[in-house]
Structures are given as C-alpha cells and as structure tokens.
C-alpha cells in the first residue's frame, strides 16, 4: 500500500497540567528552533490550522503557542484508513532573559508557524572597530 522516503514522527500528546475541556486530542507540535545573532526563530508544524485560530502568548518568560485545527467531516463517506487524528496543538517554551518579548513576530504559512523572537538590542553581539593610534 505504501512506499516512503521521508519518515514522519508520531503524534505526541501535549504535556499540560490541566485537562482539555473539549473532547479532542491536544498534540505537541513538532518544532525546529534556530538561533542567530538577531534572536531565535521557532518553526512549529500546525497542519489544518488557519491563522485566526493560532494564539501566541507571552507570560513572564513563557511563550505559549495554542492552535485549533479545522476538521472537515463527511457524513456520506465512511472512514476506512486512519494514520493521524486531527486535534488541537499546544506547546510552551521558556525564553532566556536576553530576548525581547515586546517585538515577537509570528507568521503562519502552509501549516507551519514561524515565530521570531528578537534579541534585546543591548544583548546583541557588537563588533568594535579598532582605531589606529
């Protein structure tokens, strides 16, 4: 039935203290985190989520991403094969002190959320030019 090249990761449940009130699974989205001189870029996989259903919040140093996926159900067709379960997403990250929580930018494209957290201006690496005496 299938041949494949790229492996997919299993769906992992989000680690939340509170139980979700909705009767849907809450998944922990896969993430890539990249650090550059300007700051951090987080990329999270949120398939099935529209931009208006994503909530990015910052409480003290904790950056939380919550998202709801849109499910299209058909009443005429019978499910015959299932490899993933659509659900909601939740994941939180702790930001270090040298990051600027006031200027976080987030963009959703093709089911991937990219969050850019810039470094505070005073924490950025600077190069000092040496003057000839």
């Amino acid at each position: 039935m299938t041949n494949h090249v790229t492996p997919a990761s299993e769906q992992t449940s989000a680690q939340t203290l509170a139980e979700p009130a909705r009767d849907r699974p809450v998944w922990r989205p896969l993430a890539d985190i990249l650090e550059t001189a300007d700051g951090f870029t987080l990329m999270l996989e949120l398939p099935g989520v529209a931009a208006e259903d994503v909530e990015v919040s910052l409480d003290k140093r904790q950056l939380t991403i919550r998202a709801r996926s849109q499910v299209v159900e058909s009443d005429q067709l019978e499910p015959v094969h299932s490899e993933y379960v659509p659900g909601d997403y939740e994941r939180a990250f702790l930001l270090s002190d040298d990051l600027d929580g006031e200027h976080i930018e987030a963009e959703l494209k093709n089911g991937v959320l990219t969050v850019h957290v810039p470094r505070l201006a005073e924490a950025r690496p600077r190069s000092i030019t040496v003057k000839a005496a």
Binding site: T2, A8, E10, T36, E83, N110
Partner: protein, 140 residues
C-alpha cells in the same frame, strides 16, 4: 545509550522496560510513513487527506493510473543564515512518495485536489462506467 542501574535499586526490570520502550519509539519513528493520510470511501466516491505542513502546493504531484493514486513531492528545508545554530530539529525534510490503492478505477477528470493550511484534500468520484449496474430479471 546506557542506563544507570543504581537509579532503580527496587526494580531490576525497570532498566529492561526502559530499553524496550526506547526501542519501540525508535522503530515507530522509522516505520511511520510521510505524509500521514486518512481515507474515507463509499461505493460512489473516496476522499483522501494528507498532512503536509511546510510543503509548497507547487511541490506536490498527484498521479492516477488504473486504481492507484500516487502522491509525491518534496518538502524543502527552510533557508537559514550562516552561523545559525539549531536548538531543536524535530522536523524531517526531503522527497516523499506514497501510493494509495482505491477499490475502483480512477478517471483523472474526476479527481479534485485542494491544499490549505498544510493539509491536502483529494476528492475522487467513481467514473460512471465503473459503477456496478443492476440487471433486471425478466420473467420467463
């Protein structure tokens, strides 16, 4: 990979369980295909959905032949500046191919695909000439 047995003095089997669990996780990761698909069908039609986050619609190819629908494409790794360092790398990139066998012959004219928010939805209608026909029984 090694486990410190001194951490589990009360349960000597805990080490075995942990080893078995991590082996299960490793093999599960290696055998689950990309992209994950869900399939619905009845006698008249079928619907296939696939989770393809981070794939550009132009990088997805859908082909049909007889009763097999082939979904292939490439998920390109995002560009990143030089000197950047990775703190997490959980996502996978590269080429993928999946072939799905349906219970009826496919007509390329009756296959419709839509891609939104990283989810591909393919609707397939059964061609009329492939539908089962009812034969009336004549009185002798």
């Amino acid at each position: 990979m090694f486990y410190r047995t001194a951490l589990y003095p009360a349960d000597p089997f805990a080490v075995m369980r942990r080893l078995s669990d991590s082996l299960d996780r490793m093999t599960a990761r290696a055998t689950s295909p990309f992209p994950p698909v869900n399939i619905w069908q009845n006698g008249e039609a079928a619907a296939i959905t696939a989770e393809l986050p981070g794939v550009e619609p132009g990088d997805i190819d859908i082909e049909v032949k007889d009763n097999i629908l082939t979904l292939s494409g490439e998920r390109k790794a995002p560009e990143h500046p030089e000197g950047a360092s990775w703190h997490r790398r959980e996502r996978a990139f590269g080429r993928f191919t999946r072939a799905i066998r349906l219970p009826f012959r496919l007509d390329p004219e009756k296959v419709e695909a839509r891609f939104a928010n990283g989810v591909l939805r393919i609707a397939v209608a059964r061609p009329d000439e492939d539908k089962p026909r009812r034969i009336a029984i004549k009185a002798a």
